[in-house]
Amino acid sequence: MKLDRNQQDMLDGKHGEARRFALEKLVDFGNAVGAEEMVPLSFVLNVCPIEMKDRSHPDLATYDMGHSPLYDKFIEIKDARVADESKTICLNDPYLVQIDKYEEEGYPWNFSWGDGGYKLPKDMYDGYVRGHDALKKHGWIMSQSCNSHLTTRTPRYGEYCASSESSVAAYLNTFVGARSNRESTVNTVYAGYTGYLPKYGMLLDENRRAKVIVELTDEVKEKMTDPADWAALGAVIAEKGNNRIPAVVNMPPLLSPTAGKCLSGCVSAGMNDPMMHIIGSALPESRTLEAAFGGTVPKDVERQIVTLDDVREYYRKLDSAKSDKVDIVVFGCPHLTYHEVRQIARLVEGRKVSPNVHMWVQTDTPSYHMARDNGEAKMIEDAGGKIYHSTCMGMNPVRNWSHDLNIATNSFKYVKLGGGFGQGWHFGAVPDLIDAAVTGRFVSTRWE
């Protein structure tokens, strides 16, 4: 692999041991994928570790997502710092708990159900706080959100990024035209400390081409309103695309950040290549079908149609619970935008969440504080719900919670990634989920 002078200096140890070590790992990986050069990154998004010297701690096997040992090396090195902060912004995904509310009850890290309950063990909490502080010292920005690209610095068209959060990668590729793989959480550690990544996968023009056309009917174009609609539509597009990059035709011209985020949320669960070409968008590589296919649309290209029935059917498909009972209603995978928080607050204002239900509203840190200032957080809490930031229910070991629980959500990603752990899942639109939180029963009325 060709290295420029700065990269070679880094590999030779002139920028310190942390960067030398990290770049060496990236060179190994680059060789494995046949990359010819390293490119500078404007944006890196990874996950905070649990810092614990004794890795034989029995809880670690359950709580550690696996990446923490990769950080050990950097925490040991006293002068370890992420790449030049003026060029590369290094951010984090949500993790285990909102740090200042660890002891408070009724949140996914500390709550009860029927005859059982769950609390994040203290040792894990302490290890997480240590990891958090270490990364902060290294220069990582502890944004801890799947919306970090919307709330810190949105990369620009054509910039290279490394996001291990799939929905962010899909958003950047699809709506911004910045370039990111669904980067492995191994590489994003090394990318953070070097500011570089081998140029491979979605960073290369030839891997960004559409392979299939997915066309929405006019009815679909007109009727997508609820965040769950966009999540279900994303799931349908991913399924119709069958693991190929789709050129999506007849998408509504104005997509809000919420719609874009919910659409992008389908990627981790449904697509390996985190990109859709929204034909007609302002991005040069997606403006026309010809551009999306890299020049000429092949004559024999496969064309799939998405009907409203397909979207309706996905609502049913994602609803796997065996009864209409609801124990948890969770919003915010990926993290809610402020608009979504406001929608939830308005719908739940003046109502009371059932004492048998936990209603969890999870968002990014800036939106959380905006909701505090503007009253939405109080509206949600007065109704008996919980709003929190910098964490996500799914970071806790849902697998170990009671399998009798039924969880209701508007996230395709949650159902798909958590649906194998034993609980029942309901999938519905926001008004139906609010009703479910209040009554303890889920009834889908979205398509009645």
């Binding site: 190994d28 990986f29 060789n31 494995a32 994928v33 046949g34 996950v47 890795r55 670690l60 096997a61 359950t62 550690d64 997502m65 696996g66 990446h67 040992p69 990769l70 291990s164 959060e165 799939s166 793989n181 669904r182 980067e183 492995s184 959480t185 191994v186 590489n187 491979y200 996968g201 693991n243 981790s268 669960a269 390996n272 799914g394 970071m395 070991p397 849902v398 697998r399 159902v415 798909k416 990634l417 958590g418 649906g419 194998g420 752990f421 034993g422």
Partner: protein, 147 residues
């Protein structure tokens, strides 16, 4: 009599490994808690291999599915909780799994001269020899006569 077949492919992560095959026709990912750290048992969304143990096996699957955390998941199973597979064979080893296999120090092979999902059955004994990344690797499949 045993049947032995040797297939050739490309090494995506280097190493030598052997083990009983566990074959998935469905895509598979090593995401957070999909495989238990105490026993190596699979629990994925509507996956046909749920309940099966990956420990010491050669995992054969088309390509990755699900979260990017699969990379560290694979690393963690192999290097920390010690319930990981000894190697992986895919039609296409996705970049997420390449990173996980390199960090987990197990071989990963793809681009075989035949479809591994068709050629390898669960229970076959599989040996991988993958000496250098990007170069030819061999996958030797031994099937007992009774299977």
């Amino acid at each position: 009599m045993e049947q032995v077949k040797v297939m050739k492919g490309i090494a995506r992560s280097k190493g030598q490994a052997s083990g009983e095959a566990l074959v998935s026709e469905m895509r598979f990912g090593w995401g957070y808690n999909v495989v238990t750290n105490d026993g190596g048992i699979i629990g994925a969304y509507e996956h046909p291999l749920n309940g099966q143990c990956v420990k010491g096996r050669i995992m054969v699957y088309p390509t990755v599915s699900g979260t990017t955390l699969g990379s560290v998941g694979l690393f963690y199973k192999c290097m920390v909780s010690k319930v990981g597979p000894t190697g992986i064979v895919c039609r296409n080893v996705h970049d997420i799994d390449i990173a996980g296999a390199i960090a987990g120090e197990i071989p990963a092979v793809d681009s075989l001269d035949g479809d591994p999902i068709q050629e390898i059955r669960t229970g076959d004994w599989v040996e991988i020899r993958a000496d250098e990344v990007g170069k030819e690797a061999t996958v030797t499949i031994t099937r007992k006569a009774s299977s």
